[in-house]
Protein backbone atom coordinates (compact mmCIF):
# COMPACT_ATOMS: atom_id res chain seq x y z
CA UNK A 1 0.00 0.00 0.00
CA UNK A 2 2.78 2.25 0.87
CA UNK A 3 4.45 1.21 -2.29
CA UNK A 4 1.35 1.74 -4.32
CA UNK A 5 0.76 5.07 -2.67
CA UNK A 6 4.31 5.92 -3.30
CA UNK A 7 4.03 4.86 -6.84
CA UNK A 8 0.88 6.92 -7.32
CA UNK A 9 2.53 9.97 -5.74
CA UNK A 10 5.62 9.65 -7.87
CA UNK A 11 3.53 9.27 -10.96
CA UNK A 12 1.52 12.35 -9.99
CA UNK A 13 4.58 14.48 -9.38
CA UNK A 14 6.16 13.18 -12.55
CA UNK A 15 3.02 14.17 -14.36
CA UNK A 16 3.18 17.62 -12.77
CA UNK A 17 6.79 17.93 -13.89
CA UNK A 18 5.91 16.88 -17.36
CA UNK A 19 3.18 19.50 -17.49
CA UNK A 20 4.75 22.38 -19.33
CA UNK A 21 1.89 24.83 -18.90
CA UNK A 22 3.21 28.41 -18.41
CA UNK A 23 6.88 27.60 -18.82
CA UNK A 24 7.35 30.78 -20.86
CA UNK A 25 5.88 32.93 -18.15
CA UNK A 26 8.05 31.37 -15.48
CA UNK A 27 11.17 31.82 -17.53
CA UNK A 28 10.17 35.37 -18.34
CA UNK A 29 9.77 36.12 -14.65
CA UNK A 30 13.20 34.63 -14.04
CA UNK A 31 14.97 36.73 -16.67
CA UNK A 32 12.92 39.89 -16.12
CA UNK A 33 15.16 41.25 -13.29
CA UNK A 34 18.16 40.83 -15.55
CA UNK A 35 16.52 42.76 -18.35
CA UNK A 36 15.28 45.46 -15.99
CA UNK A 37 18.76 45.76 -14.53
CA UNK A 38 20.15 46.32 -18.01
CA UNK A 39 17.39 48.80 -18.84
CA UNK A 40 17.82 50.87 -15.67
CA UNK A 41 21.57 50.67 -16.08
CA UNK A 42 21.33 52.16 -19.55
CA UNK A 43 19.07 54.94 -18.28
CA UNK A 44 21.28 55.74 -15.30
CA UNK A 45 24.48 55.68 -17.32
CA UNK A 46 22.87 57.88 -19.93
CA UNK A 47 21.91 60.45 -17.30
CA UNK A 48 25.36 60.41 -15.74
CA UNK A 49 27.13 60.78 -19.10
CA UNK A 50 24.81 63.64 -19.97
CA UNK A 51 25.52 65.29 -16.62
CA UNK A 52 29.22 64.89 -17.20
CA UNK A 53 29.05 66.53 -20.63
CA UNK A 54 27.06 69.44 -19.23
CA UNK A 55 29.49 69.73 -16.35
CA UNK A 56 32.47 69.94 -18.74
CA UNK A 57 30.65 72.53 -20.79
CA UNK A 58 29.68 74.63 -17.78
CA UNK A 59 33.19 74.48 -16.35
CA UNK A 60 34.68 75.57 -19.63
CA UNK A 61 32.16 78.43 -20.03
CA UNK A 62 32.74 79.79 -16.54
CA UNK A 63 36.54 79.51 -16.91
CA UNK A 64 36.31 81.59 -20.07
CA UNK A 65 34.28 84.22 -18.22
CA UNK A 66 36.85 84.38 -15.41
CA UNK A 67 39.66 84.69 -17.96
CA UNK A 68 38.12 87.80 -19.52
CA UNK A 69 36.80 89.36 -16.29
CA UNK A 70 39.92 91.21 -15.23
CA UNK A 71 38.11 94.54 -15.53
CA UNK A 72 34.75 93.33 -14.25
CA UNK A 73 33.55 94.16 -10.78
CA UNK A 74 31.41 90.99 -10.64
CA UNK A 75 33.65 88.17 -11.90
CA UNK A 76 32.29 85.59 -9.43
CA UNK A 77 28.64 86.31 -10.19
CA UNK A 78 29.34 86.32 -13.94
CA UNK A 79 31.17 82.99 -13.79
CA UNK A 80 28.39 81.38 -11.74
CA UNK A 81 25.69 82.55 -14.13
CA UNK A 82 27.75 81.30 -17.10
CA UNK A 83 27.92 77.91 -15.38
CA UNK A 84 24.19 77.86 -14.71
CA UNK A 85 23.38 78.89 -18.28
CA UNK A 86 25.41 75.95 -19.64
CA UNK A 87 24.05 73.35 -17.23
CA UNK A 88 20.24 73.57 -17.28
CA UNK A 89 19.80 69.89 -16.33
CA UNK A 90 22.06 69.83 -13.30
CA UNK A 91 20.92 70.34 -9.76
CA UNK A 92 22.80 73.59 -9.27
CA UNK A 93 22.71 73.52 -5.50
CA UNK A 94 24.73 70.29 -5.30
CA UNK A 95 27.50 71.46 -7.65
CA UNK A 96 30.61 72.50 -5.74
CA UNK A 97 32.41 75.18 -7.71
CA UNK A 98 35.91 76.32 -6.86
CA UNK A 99 37.62 79.30 -8.46
CA UNK A 100 41.41 79.52 -8.28
CA UNK A 101 43.12 82.65 -9.56
CA UNK A 102 46.86 82.07 -9.82
CA UNK A 103 46.49 79.08 -7.46
CA UNK A 104 44.67 81.06 -4.75
CA UNK A 105 41.02 80.35 -4.13
CA UNK A 106 38.47 83.17 -4.27
CA UNK A 107 34.77 82.85 -3.58
CA UNK A 108 33.23 86.30 -3.82
CA UNK A 109 33.06 89.13 -6.32
CA UNK A 110 35.32 91.31 -4.20
CA UNK A 111 37.98 88.60 -3.64
CA UNK A 112 38.04 87.44 -7.25
CA UNK A 113 38.15 91.03 -8.47
CA UNK A 114 41.24 91.77 -6.36
CA UNK A 115 42.89 88.50 -7.36
CA UNK A 116 42.16 88.98 -11.07
CA UNK A 117 43.42 92.56 -11.13
CA UNK A 118 46.95 91.27 -10.50
CA UNK A 119 46.66 88.13 -12.61
CA UNK A 120 47.10 89.24 -16.23
CA UNK A 121 48.71 86.38 -18.14
CA UNK A 122 48.48 84.04 -15.15
CA UNK A 123 46.31 80.93 -14.89
CA UNK A 124 42.76 80.93 -13.56
CA UNK A 125 41.15 77.60 -12.80
CA UNK A 126 37.58 76.47 -12.30
CA UNK A 127 37.02 73.06 -10.82
CA UNK A 128 33.58 71.64 -10.24
CA UNK A 129 32.49 68.46 -8.53
CA UNK A 130 29.00 67.11 -8.87
CA UNK A 131 27.50 64.08 -7.17
CA UNK A 132 26.33 61.37 -9.54
CA UNK A 133 23.78 58.71 -8.85
CA UNK A 134 24.69 55.24 -10.13
CA UNK A 135 22.31 53.49 -7.77
CA UNK A 136 20.61 50.86 -9.93
CA UNK A 137 17.59 49.16 -8.31
CA UNK A 138 19.27 49.32 -4.93
CA UNK A 139 22.74 48.27 -6.10
CA UNK A 140 25.33 50.99 -5.77
CA UNK A 141 27.69 50.47 -8.69
CA UNK A 142 30.11 53.20 -7.66
CA UNK A 143 30.49 54.24 -4.07
CA UNK A 144 30.42 58.00 -3.41
CA UNK A 145 30.18 58.62 -7.13
CA UNK A 146 31.34 62.14 -8.02
CA UNK A 147 31.81 63.82 -11.38
CA UNK A 148 34.80 66.11 -11.65
CA UNK A 149 35.67 68.71 -14.22
CA UNK A 150 38.26 71.43 -14.33
CA UNK A 151 39.56 73.93 -16.84
CA UNK A 152 42.50 76.30 -16.57
CA UNK A 153 42.54 79.38 -18.74
CA UNK A 154 45.01 82.20 -19.03
CA UNK A 155 43.71 85.50 -17.70
CA UNK A 156 43.57 88.06 -20.51
Amino acid sequence: MRASLNGRGARASLKALKNCDGASAVEFVLVLPLLLLALFGIIKFGIVLNNDLELSDGTRASARVIAISRSSSTPWTDAMSAFRASTPNLNQSTAKIRVLVNNAACASDADCKTALAAAAGLPAQISVSYPCDLDIVGIQLVKDCTLQSQTTERVE
Binding site: C20, D21, G22, A23, S24, A25, E27, F28, L30, V31, L34, L35, A38, G41, I42, F45, G46, L49, D52, L53, S56, D57, T59, R60, A63, R64, A67, I68, R70, S71, S72, S73, K113, L116, A117, A120, G121, P123, Q125, Q148, S149, Q150, T151, T152, E153, R154, E156
Partner: protein, 441 residues
Protein backbone atom coordinates in the same frame (compact mmCIF):
# COMPACT_ATOMS: atom_id res chain seq x y z
CA UNK B 1 -11.69 48.34 -28.12
CA UNK B 2 -13.37 45.12 -27.18
CA UNK B 3 -11.47 43.46 -29.98
CA UNK B 4 -8.09 44.60 -28.67
CA UNK B 5 -8.94 43.56 -25.13
CA UNK B 6 -10.06 40.14 -26.24
CA UNK B 7 -7.02 39.76 -28.45
CA UNK B 8 -4.76 40.75 -25.55
CA UNK B 9 -6.46 38.32 -23.19
CA UNK B 10 -6.09 35.64 -25.84
CA UNK B 11 -2.37 36.44 -26.07
CA UNK B 12 -2.04 36.34 -22.28
CA UNK B 13 -3.86 33.02 -22.16
CA UNK B 14 -1.56 31.61 -24.84
CA UNK B 15 1.48 32.93 -23.00
CA UNK B 16 0.28 31.36 -19.76
CA UNK B 17 -0.24 28.00 -21.38
CA UNK B 18 2.68 28.17 -23.78
CA UNK B 19 4.59 24.97 -23.49
CA UNK B 20 7.59 25.43 -25.69
CA UNK B 21 9.67 27.28 -23.05
CA UNK B 22 12.08 28.94 -25.46
CA UNK B 23 12.13 32.29 -23.61
CA UNK B 24 15.30 31.49 -21.66
CA UNK B 25 17.14 30.54 -24.82
CA UNK B 26 15.97 33.63 -26.66
CA UNK B 27 16.83 35.87 -23.71
CA UNK B 28 20.20 34.17 -23.26
CA UNK B 29 21.05 34.84 -26.87
CA UNK B 30 19.68 38.34 -26.95
CA UNK B 31 21.35 39.30 -23.66
CA UNK B 32 24.70 38.89 -25.41
CA UNK B 33 23.60 41.35 -28.07
CA UNK B 34 22.05 43.70 -25.50
CA UNK B 35 25.17 43.72 -23.35
CA UNK B 36 27.32 44.27 -26.41
CA UNK B 37 25.25 47.29 -27.42
CA UNK B 38 25.29 48.60 -23.87
CA UNK B 39 29.05 48.23 -23.87
CA UNK B 40 29.36 50.10 -27.13
CA UNK B 41 27.10 52.86 -25.81
CA UNK B 42 29.27 53.26 -22.72
CA UNK B 43 32.52 53.13 -24.70
CA UNK B 44 31.38 55.64 -27.29
CA UNK B 45 29.83 57.86 -24.61
CA UNK B 46 33.11 57.84 -22.74
CA UNK B 47 35.06 58.67 -25.89
CA UNK B 48 32.71 61.59 -26.66
CA UNK B 49 33.07 62.86 -23.12
CA UNK B 50 36.87 62.74 -23.42
CA UNK B 51 36.64 64.61 -26.71
CA UNK B 52 34.55 67.35 -25.09
CA UNK B 53 37.03 67.78 -22.24
CA UNK B 54 39.92 67.72 -24.73
CA UNK B 55 38.22 70.44 -26.78
CA UNK B 56 37.98 72.64 -23.68
CA UNK B 57 41.68 72.12 -23.04
CA UNK B 58 42.81 72.92 -26.60
CA UNK B 59 40.55 76.02 -26.66
CA UNK B 60 42.24 77.29 -23.51
CA UNK B 61 45.66 76.38 -24.95
CA UNK B 62 45.03 78.19 -28.25
CA UNK B 63 43.79 81.33 -26.49
CA UNK B 64 46.73 81.35 -24.08
CA UNK B 65 49.15 80.90 -26.99
CA UNK B 66 47.47 83.63 -29.06
CA UNK B 67 47.78 86.02 -26.13
CA UNK B 68 51.51 85.32 -26.03
CA UNK B 69 51.92 86.31 -29.70
CA UNK B 70 51.32 89.94 -28.71
CA UNK B 71 53.41 89.58 -25.57
CA UNK B 72 56.47 88.60 -27.58
CA UNK B 73 57.24 85.39 -25.71
CA UNK B 74 57.09 81.85 -27.02
CA UNK B 75 53.44 81.17 -27.97
CA UNK B 76 54.11 77.50 -28.70
CA UNK B 77 55.39 76.69 -25.22
CA UNK B 78 52.61 78.74 -23.58
CA UNK B 79 50.00 76.86 -25.62
CA UNK B 80 51.56 73.56 -24.57
CA UNK B 81 51.57 74.67 -20.94
CA UNK B 82 47.77 75.23 -21.06
CA UNK B 83 47.04 72.06 -23.05
CA UNK B 84 45.88 68.65 -21.86
CA UNK B 85 49.38 67.18 -22.01
CA UNK B 86 50.61 65.39 -18.92
CA UNK B 87 51.57 67.82 -16.11
CA UNK B 88 50.23 70.75 -18.14
CA UNK B 89 47.58 73.05 -16.67
CA UNK B 90 44.65 71.23 -18.26
CA UNK B 91 46.00 67.70 -17.83
CA UNK B 92 43.38 65.02 -17.38
CA UNK B 93 42.91 63.36 -14.04
CA UNK B 94 42.56 59.98 -15.71
CA UNK B 95 45.52 58.11 -17.10
CA UNK B 96 44.71 58.61 -20.77
CA UNK B 97 47.49 58.81 -23.31
CA UNK B 98 47.26 62.36 -24.63
CA UNK B 99 49.60 63.72 -27.26
CA UNK B 100 49.99 66.84 -29.32
CA UNK B 101 49.36 66.06 -32.99
CA UNK B 102 52.67 66.15 -34.91
CA UNK B 103 53.59 69.70 -35.92
CA UNK B 104 51.26 71.37 -33.42
CA UNK B 105 50.87 73.93 -31.83
CA UNK B 106 51.28 75.66 -35.15
CA UNK B 107 51.82 79.38 -35.57
CA UNK B 108 49.93 80.86 -38.49
CA UNK B 109 49.52 84.12 -40.33
CA UNK B 110 45.79 84.42 -41.04
CA UNK B 111 45.57 87.04 -43.76
CA UNK B 112 41.77 87.03 -43.74
CA UNK B 113 41.51 88.36 -40.17
CA UNK B 114 43.26 91.60 -41.13
CA UNK B 115 45.35 91.47 -37.97
CA UNK B 116 49.06 92.08 -38.45
CA UNK B 117 51.52 89.19 -38.32
CA UNK B 118 53.99 90.24 -35.65
CA UNK B 119 57.00 88.95 -33.81
CA UNK B 120 59.95 86.87 -34.94
CA UNK B 121 57.63 84.15 -36.29
CA UNK B 122 55.46 86.56 -38.31
CA UNK B 123 52.28 85.08 -36.85
CA UNK B 124 48.87 86.37 -35.82
CA UNK B 125 47.26 83.09 -34.89
CA UNK B 126 47.87 79.64 -33.51
CA UNK B 127 46.35 76.21 -34.06
CA UNK B 128 46.43 73.56 -31.35
CA UNK B 129 45.50 69.94 -32.07
CA UNK B 130 45.60 67.18 -29.51
CA UNK B 131 44.78 63.51 -29.58
CA UNK B 132 43.69 61.16 -26.85
CA UNK B 133 43.77 57.38 -27.06
CA UNK B 134 40.58 56.25 -25.34
CA UNK B 135 40.61 52.59 -24.26
CA UNK B 136 37.49 50.56 -25.07
CA UNK B 137 36.30 48.50 -22.12
CA UNK B 138 33.72 46.43 -23.97
CA UNK B 139 34.60 46.84 -27.63
CA UNK B 140 38.03 45.36 -27.03
CA UNK B 141 36.31 41.98 -26.72
CA UNK B 142 35.49 42.20 -30.41
CA UNK B 143 38.97 43.39 -31.30
CA UNK B 144 38.71 47.20 -30.93
CA UNK B 145 41.14 47.99 -28.10
CA UNK B 146 40.95 51.79 -28.34
CA UNK B 147 39.88 54.70 -30.47
CA UNK B 148 41.71 57.99 -30.94
CA UNK B 149 39.78 61.23 -30.56
CA UNK B 150 41.13 64.52 -31.87
CA UNK B 151 40.29 68.08 -30.90
CA UNK B 152 41.47 71.20 -32.72
CA UNK B 153 41.25 74.86 -31.77
CA UNK B 154 42.29 77.92 -33.74
CA UNK B 155 42.83 81.30 -32.10
CA UNK B 156 43.67 84.70 -33.54
CA UNK B 157 45.80 87.16 -31.62
CA UNK B 158 43.40 90.06 -32.17
CA UNK B 159 39.71 90.80 -32.29
CA UNK B 160 38.52 89.43 -28.95
CA UNK B 161 36.91 91.27 -26.09
CA UNK B 162 39.43 94.05 -25.49
CA UNK B 163 41.34 94.57 -22.28
CA UNK B 164 40.85 98.06 -20.83
CA UNK B 165 43.99 100.04 -21.49
CA UNK B 166 45.59 102.98 -19.77
CA UNK B 167 47.90 104.35 -22.44
CA UNK B 168 50.50 107.06 -22.11
CA UNK B 169 52.08 108.28 -25.33
CA UNK B 170 55.51 109.78 -24.83
CA UNK B 171 56.54 111.70 -27.92
CA UNK B 172 59.86 113.21 -28.73
CA UNK B 173 59.38 116.92 -29.58
CA UNK B 174 63.01 117.93 -29.75
CA UNK B 175 64.26 120.02 -32.65
CA UNK B 176 65.26 117.01 -34.73
CA UNK B 177 61.54 116.21 -35.08
CA UNK B 178 61.25 119.19 -37.46
CA UNK B 179 63.27 117.50 -40.19
CA UNK B 180 61.46 115.92 -43.11
CA UNK B 181 60.71 112.20 -43.20
CA UNK B 182 60.67 111.21 -46.86
CA UNK B 183 59.69 107.63 -46.00
CA UNK B 184 56.47 108.75 -44.24
CA UNK B 185 53.29 107.75 -46.04
CA UNK B 186 52.23 111.42 -45.89
CA UNK B 187 54.12 113.28 -48.59
CA UNK B 188 56.30 116.15 -47.40
CA UNK B 189 55.64 115.48 -43.73
CA UNK B 190 58.09 116.42 -41.02
CA UNK B 191 58.84 113.78 -38.40
CA UNK B 192 56.47 115.37 -35.88
CA UNK B 193 53.69 115.52 -38.53
CA UNK B 194 54.23 111.86 -39.33
CA UNK B 195 54.26 110.93 -35.63
CA UNK B 196 51.00 112.82 -34.99
CA UNK B 197 49.42 111.11 -38.02
CA UNK B 198 50.48 107.82 -36.45
CA UNK B 199 48.91 108.81 -33.12
CA UNK B 200 45.63 109.56 -34.90
CA UNK B 201 45.68 106.10 -36.51
CA UNK B 202 46.40 104.55 -33.10
CA UNK B 203 43.46 106.43 -31.55
CA UNK B 204 41.30 104.93 -34.29
CA UNK B 205 42.32 101.40 -33.20
CA UNK B 206 41.50 101.86 -29.50
CA UNK B 207 38.14 101.57 -27.77
CA UNK B 208 37.08 104.86 -26.13
CA UNK B 209 34.52 103.24 -23.83
CA UNK B 210 37.28 101.40 -21.96
CA UNK B 211 40.67 102.73 -23.10
CA UNK B 212 42.02 106.00 -21.76
CA UNK B 213 44.93 107.75 -23.40
CA UNK B 214 47.24 110.51 -22.19
CA UNK B 215 50.01 112.37 -23.94
CA UNK B 216 53.41 113.38 -22.63
CA UNK B 217 56.31 114.98 -24.39
CA UNK B 218 59.93 115.84 -23.86
CA UNK B 219 61.52 118.31 -23.53
CA UNK B 220 59.19 119.54 -20.78
CA UNK B 221 57.14 122.70 -21.21
CA UNK B 222 56.10 125.46 -18.84
CA UNK B 223 52.92 124.65 -16.95
CA UNK B 224 49.41 125.66 -17.95
CA UNK B 225 50.18 126.08 -21.58
CA UNK B 226 47.43 124.72 -23.74
CA UNK B 227 49.14 125.83 -26.94
CA UNK B 228 49.30 122.29 -28.22
CA UNK B 229 45.57 121.87 -28.51
CA UNK B 230 44.32 125.44 -28.28
CA UNK B 231 42.63 126.41 -31.49
CA UNK B 232 43.14 130.12 -30.85
CA UNK B 233 46.78 130.53 -30.09
CA UNK B 234 49.60 130.06 -32.46
CA UNK B 235 52.07 130.75 -29.69
CA UNK B 236 54.82 128.23 -29.43
CA UNK B 237 55.41 126.78 -25.98
CA UNK B 238 58.11 127.93 -23.64
CA UNK B 239 60.48 125.09 -23.00
CA UNK B 240 61.45 124.17 -19.46
CA UNK B 241 64.86 122.67 -18.91
CA UNK B 242 65.05 119.05 -17.71
CA UNK B 243 66.68 120.34 -14.54
CA UNK B 244 63.60 121.30 -12.57
CA UNK B 245 60.78 119.76 -14.62
CA UNK B 246 58.03 117.86 -12.83
CA UNK B 247 55.20 115.60 -13.98
CA UNK B 248 53.00 118.51 -15.08
CA UNK B 249 55.75 119.87 -17.30
CA UNK B 250 55.92 116.63 -19.25
CA UNK B 251 52.20 116.06 -19.54
CA UNK B 252 50.38 117.65 -22.48
CA UNK B 253 47.01 115.94 -22.08
CA UNK B 254 45.94 113.81 -19.13
CA UNK B 255 44.15 110.45 -19.34
CA UNK B 256 41.14 111.00 -21.59
CA UNK B 257 38.66 108.87 -23.46
CA UNK B 258 36.92 111.53 -25.53
CA UNK B 259 39.05 110.89 -28.61
CA UNK B 260 36.14 109.26 -30.41
CA UNK B 261 32.45 109.92 -29.77
CA UNK B 262 31.72 106.19 -29.39
CA UNK B 263 33.31 102.79 -29.96
CA UNK B 264 31.65 102.60 -33.37
CA UNK B 265 32.62 106.12 -34.46
CA UNK B 266 35.03 105.93 -37.38
CA UNK B 267 36.31 109.51 -37.15
CA UNK B 268 38.10 111.19 -34.27
CA UNK B 269 36.35 113.74 -32.09
CA UNK B 270 37.73 117.13 -33.16
CA UNK B 271 36.72 118.72 -29.86
CA UNK B 272 38.99 116.43 -27.84
CA UNK B 273 42.17 118.04 -26.54
CA UNK B 274 44.04 114.84 -27.24
CA UNK B 275 42.90 114.79 -30.86
CA UNK B 276 43.69 118.49 -31.24
CA UNK B 277 47.20 117.93 -29.86
CA UNK B 278 47.55 115.20 -32.51
CA UNK B 279 46.56 117.73 -35.18
CA UNK B 280 43.20 116.06 -35.75
CA UNK B 281 41.00 118.89 -34.52
CA UNK B 282 40.71 120.71 -37.80
CA UNK B 283 42.42 123.73 -36.30
CA UNK B 284 46.10 124.32 -35.77
CA UNK B 285 48.85 121.88 -36.48
CA UNK B 286 48.88 120.15 -33.12
CA UNK B 287 51.96 119.68 -31.02
CA UNK B 288 54.97 121.53 -32.25
CA UNK B 289 58.59 120.56 -31.83
CA UNK B 290 60.43 123.47 -30.27
CA UNK B 291 63.26 121.86 -28.37
CA UNK B 292 66.50 123.59 -27.61
CA UNK B 293 67.52 121.79 -24.43
CA UNK B 294 68.72 118.54 -25.96
CA UNK B 295 67.21 115.10 -25.58
CA UNK B 296 66.65 113.32 -22.28
CA UNK B 297 63.76 110.91 -21.74
CA UNK B 298 64.49 108.81 -18.64
CA UNK B 299 62.46 111.18 -16.44
CA UNK B 300 59.66 111.25 -19.03
CA UNK B 301 59.40 107.45 -18.77
CA UNK B 302 59.41 107.56 -14.95
CA UNK B 303 56.72 110.25 -14.89
CA UNK B 304 54.66 108.34 -17.47
CA UNK B 305 54.78 105.26 -15.23
CA UNK B 306 53.86 107.12 -12.03
CA UNK B 307 51.02 108.93 -13.86
CA UNK B 308 49.68 105.64 -15.24
CA UNK B 309 49.88 104.06 -11.80
CA UNK B 310 47.76 106.86 -10.33
CA UNK B 311 45.19 107.06 -13.15
CA UNK B 312 44.67 103.33 -13.78
CA UNK B 313 41.20 102.04 -13.00
CA UNK B 314 40.32 98.52 -11.92
CA UNK B 315 41.67 95.86 -14.28
CA UNK B 316 43.38 98.29 -16.62
CA UNK B 317 46.57 97.38 -18.43
CA UNK B 318 49.11 100.22 -18.33
CA UNK B 319 50.87 100.91 -21.61
CA UNK B 320 53.70 103.33 -22.39
CA UNK B 321 54.40 104.07 -26.04
CA UNK B 322 57.68 105.91 -26.43
CA UNK B 323 58.70 107.49 -29.71
CA UNK B 324 62.19 108.92 -30.01
CA UNK B 325 65.43 108.81 -31.96
CA UNK B 326 66.88 107.61 -28.68
CA UNK B 327 69.95 109.81 -28.76
CA UNK B 328 69.94 111.24 -25.20
CA UNK B 329 72.37 114.12 -25.02
CA UNK B 330 71.18 116.65 -22.40
CA UNK B 331 73.91 119.14 -21.62
CA UNK B 332 75.20 119.69 -18.13
CA UNK B 333 73.29 122.92 -17.45
CA UNK B 334 69.94 121.48 -18.52
CA UNK B 335 70.09 118.27 -16.55
CA UNK B 336 68.92 117.42 -13.05
CA UNK B 337 71.90 117.01 -10.76
CA UNK B 338 73.35 113.53 -10.66
CA UNK B 339 71.64 112.54 -13.91
CA UNK B 340 74.11 113.94 -16.39
CA UNK B 341 75.96 110.75 -17.20
CA UNK B 342 74.59 107.50 -18.65
CA UNK B 343 71.40 109.16 -19.88
CA UNK B 344 70.47 106.27 -22.20
CA UNK B 345 71.04 103.66 -19.49
CA UNK B 346 68.92 105.71 -17.09
CA UNK B 347 66.09 105.44 -19.61
CA UNK B 348 66.54 101.67 -19.93
CA UNK B 349 66.45 101.38 -16.12
CA UNK B 350 63.31 103.58 -15.90
CA UNK B 351 61.59 101.46 -18.56
CA UNK B 352 62.77 98.32 -16.79
CA UNK B 353 61.10 99.29 -13.54
CA UNK B 354 57.91 100.20 -15.46
CA UNK B 355 57.98 96.74 -17.09
CA UNK B 356 58.58 95.16 -13.68
CA UNK B 357 55.46 96.97 -12.44
CA UNK B 358 53.45 95.23 -15.17
CA UNK B 359 53.36 98.04 -17.71
CA UNK B 360 53.81 97.18 -21.37
CA UNK B 361 56.49 99.49 -22.70
CA UNK B 362 56.44 99.91 -26.48
CA UNK B 363 59.48 101.56 -27.96
CA UNK B 364 59.48 103.10 -31.43
CA UNK B 365 62.96 104.02 -32.62
CA UNK B 366 62.61 106.82 -35.13
CA UNK B 367 65.79 107.16 -37.13
CA UNK B 368 67.85 105.79 -34.25
CA UNK B 369 71.57 105.66 -34.84
CA UNK B 370 73.32 102.31 -34.64
CA UNK B 371 76.68 103.96 -33.98
CA UNK B 372 77.79 103.37 -30.42
CA UNK B 373 80.32 106.18 -30.59
CA UNK B 374 78.14 108.71 -32.39
CA UNK B 375 75.03 108.49 -30.17
CA UNK B 376 74.18 108.33 -26.46
CA UNK B 377 77.29 110.43 -25.86
CA UNK B 378 76.95 110.55 -22.08
CA UNK B 379 76.98 106.78 -21.68
CA UNK B 380 80.11 105.03 -20.58
CA UNK B 381 80.68 102.32 -21.73
CA UNK B 382 79.25 103.31 -25.08
CA UNK B 383 75.84 102.20 -26.21
CA UNK B 384 74.06 103.09 -29.43
CA UNK B 385 70.73 104.94 -29.51
CA UNK B 386 69.31 101.93 -31.33
CA UNK B 387 70.40 99.56 -28.54
CA UNK B 388 68.96 101.96 -25.96
CA UNK B 389 65.55 101.96 -27.67
CA UNK B 390 65.68 98.16 -27.96
CA UNK B 391 66.45 97.90 -24.26
CA UNK B 392 63.52 100.13 -23.36
CA UNK B 393 60.87 97.87 -24.92
CA UNK B 394 59.33 95.35 -22.51
CA UNK B 395 60.09 92.54 -24.96
CA UNK B 396 61.41 92.28 -28.52
CA UNK B 397 57.87 92.18 -29.99
CA UNK B 398 57.20 95.64 -28.53
CA UNK B 399 60.18 97.19 -30.26
CA UNK B 400 59.65 98.93 -33.59
CA UNK B 401 62.11 100.77 -35.73
CA UNK B 402 61.64 103.27 -38.53
CA UNK B 403 65.00 103.93 -40.12
CA UNK B 404 63.42 106.31 -42.65
CA UNK B 405 64.78 104.37 -45.58
CA UNK B 406 68.38 104.47 -44.37
CA UNK B 407 70.26 101.27 -45.25
CA UNK B 408 71.67 99.30 -42.34
CA UNK B 409 69.29 101.04 -39.95
CA UNK B 410 68.29 100.01 -36.47
CA UNK B 411 67.00 96.38 -36.71
CA UNK B 412 63.67 95.24 -35.28
CA UNK B 413 61.91 91.90 -35.58
CA UNK B 414 58.73 93.78 -36.54
CA UNK B 415 58.86 94.23 -40.29
CA UNK B 416 57.64 97.83 -40.60
CA UNK B 417 59.59 100.78 -41.88
CA UNK B 418 56.96 103.49 -41.98
CA UNK B 419 55.78 105.34 -38.89
CA UNK B 420 52.01 105.43 -39.53
CA UNK B 421 51.88 101.69 -40.17
CA UNK B 422 53.95 101.13 -37.03
CA UNK B 423 51.34 102.95 -34.95
CA UNK B 424 48.57 100.96 -36.62
CA UNK B 425 50.39 97.74 -35.77
CA UNK B 426 50.91 98.82 -32.16
CA UNK B 427 47.17 99.53 -31.89
CA UNK B 428 46.32 96.09 -33.24
CA UNK B 429 48.69 94.23 -30.95
CA UNK B 430 46.85 95.86 -28.04
CA UNK B 431 43.72 93.91 -28.97
CA UNK B 432 42.66 90.69 -27.30
CA UNK B 433 42.87 87.14 -28.71
CA UNK B 434 39.82 85.23 -29.84
CA UNK B 435 38.89 81.77 -31.11
CA UNK B 436 38.51 81.41 -34.87
CA UNK B 437 36.84 78.80 -37.07
CA UNK B 438 39.32 76.01 -37.80
CA UNK B 439 38.91 76.72 -41.52
CA UNK B 440 40.43 80.21 -41.21
CA UNK B 441 43.19 80.90 -43.70
Amino acid sequence: MSFSVSSFSRLARRFRSEERGAAAVIVALSIVVIVAFMGFAIDIGHALQVRRALQGAVDAAALAGAQEINNGGDPVSVASAYSALKSSKNAFASNLKITMAPGFPQLKCFVSTGAPCTGAKGANGIVVRQQAVVPMYFAQIVGLPSITVTATATAGAAGGKPIPLNVMLVLDSTQSMNTKDSSCSIAGATRIDCALAGVRVLLGELTPSIDQVGLMTFPPILRNQSYDYDCNGATKPTIESYRSAGQSNYQVVGASNDYRASDDAKSLNGASNLVRAAAGGGCGSGMSAVGGVGTYYADAISFAQSTLASTAKQGMQNVIILLSDGDANGSNGNMPSGKVSNQCRQAIAAAGSATAAGTWVYSIAYGASTSSTGSCGTDNPHISACAAMQGIASDPAKFYSDSMGAPGGCPSQNPYDELVSIFKNVGQTLQAPRLLPDSTT
